[in-house]
């Protein structure tokens, strides 16, 4: 029962969070000033996602194998590797680090 309540509330809430922008603003041109803000949303959120996906475990900041994966990714990016290679290199580096530690 608790599971169904959880799924219903989180499911509906997420559908609403994801849907509100496309429903309300769909197809409209936004004013230039807002465009300036929205165009910076991608780099800003990406950087935040990188930080949380690399260093956060719950509410703790940790240094673990993911950091090794990211270091390898940086090298691959500097060497102008294709994105697929960057992803694979990061995963392999993290897996190997985790296996060794």
């Amino acid at each position: 029962m608790t599971e169904w309540l959880l799924v219903a509330i989180v499911g509906l809430g997420t559908v609403a969070l994801k849907g509100v922008g496309p429903l309300v603003l769909g197809g409209r041109r936004v004013p230039d000033r807002l465009t300036g803000v929205v165009s910076l949303l991608a780099p800003t959120l990406l950087a935040a996602l990188i930080v949380t996906n690399t260093f956060a475990t719950g509410t703790a900041l940790v240094i673990d194998a993911r950091v090794a994966g990211m270091a390898a990714a940086v090298v691959a990016i500097v060497l102008r590797a294709p994105i697929l290679v960057v992803i694979v290199v990061a995963a392999v580096a993290a897996a190997v680090t985790r296996a060794l530690t």
């Binding site: 989180v10 935040a48 996906n53 509410t59």
Partner: protein, 241 residues
């Protein structure tokens, strides 16, 4: 490498192609989620409904682990919705590029997740809705099929972490961020966003750092940006939180 393909089916195909490596990781985490939910006492049906409606890995993991570690329903719901709150600004950012009837926009919003959003982002506030749909549908299928296999007891894959797949997501985000930072403003916004998130992780519940960091894009108010859209709608909408 071809960067600009503009014909109709190619846009969708390009989204699928770019999402393919991520779909492998999403699938593996789907399996892991199915296993976790099953271990926490969730039924097969409720677990599948969860993945089908919410389609957000971090929120689903958080909700199930809060509940299974003895937390209250309210705590689980709050944790999950905080983690998903970023989808309000993310949805608003793609909205101008979505056309068609309301139900179609609503559906596309549902498959707008971190990875599909990033893949369809063409910089300067532009998004390709076809890439978004192609990538989103593939990732959605990977998440659902992964969940189904996990909940059916598919422990054969091993933990996604052992395969290093948890490093695949930030690596993708970094590779795409590098392509986004064309000027000083974008660089400042990215550094600001990363710094806000880093500072807030230990201080706030998970999810809050990302939402707070998104406010970093407000530095875009300081100077007029090169317009991504030719015409200007003077009936100003307040689309951002």
């Amino acid at each position: 490498m071809k960067e600009k393909r503009r014909t109709l089916p190619a846009g969708y195909a390009e989204g699928v192609r770019r999402a393919a490596p991520l779909a492998v990781a999403v699938f593996a985490f789907g399996v892991a989620f199915g296993l976790l939910a099953r271990a926490a006492g969730f039924s097969v049906v409720v677990t599948l409904v969860f993945s089908a409606t919410t389609f957000a890995g971090s929120a689903q993991f958080a909700a199930v682990s809060v509940l299974s570690s003895g937390g209250s329903l309210v705590a689980a719901v709050v944790a999950a919705l905080l983690l998903n709150a970023r989808y309000a600004p993310i949805g608003a950012s793609v909205a101008p590029w979505l056309t068609g009837p309301w139900w179609r926009r609503l559906l596309i919003g549902q498959i707008t997740v971190d990875e599909s959003w990033v893949i369809s982002n063409e910089g300067g506030g532009r998004f390709d809705p076809r890439k978004l749909v192609g990538a989103g549908l593939l990732l959605y299928a990977a998440w659902l099929v992964g969940t189904a296999i996990g909940v059916a007891g598919g422990g054969f894959l091993g933990k996604p972490e052992d395969l290093g797949l948890d490093a695949a997501f930030p690596a993708l985000f970094l590779a795409l961020l590098v392509g986004q930072v064309h000027d000083r403003r974008a660089l400042v916004a990215a550094l600001l966003g990363g710094a806000i998130a880093l500072v807030l992780v230990p201080l706030t519940p998970a999810g809050v750092p990302i939402i707070a960091a998104s406010l970093g894009c407000l530095i875009g108010l300081r100077r007029p940006a090169p317009p991504a859209t030719p015409e200007d709608d003077p009936a100003a909408e307040d689309g951002l939180p």
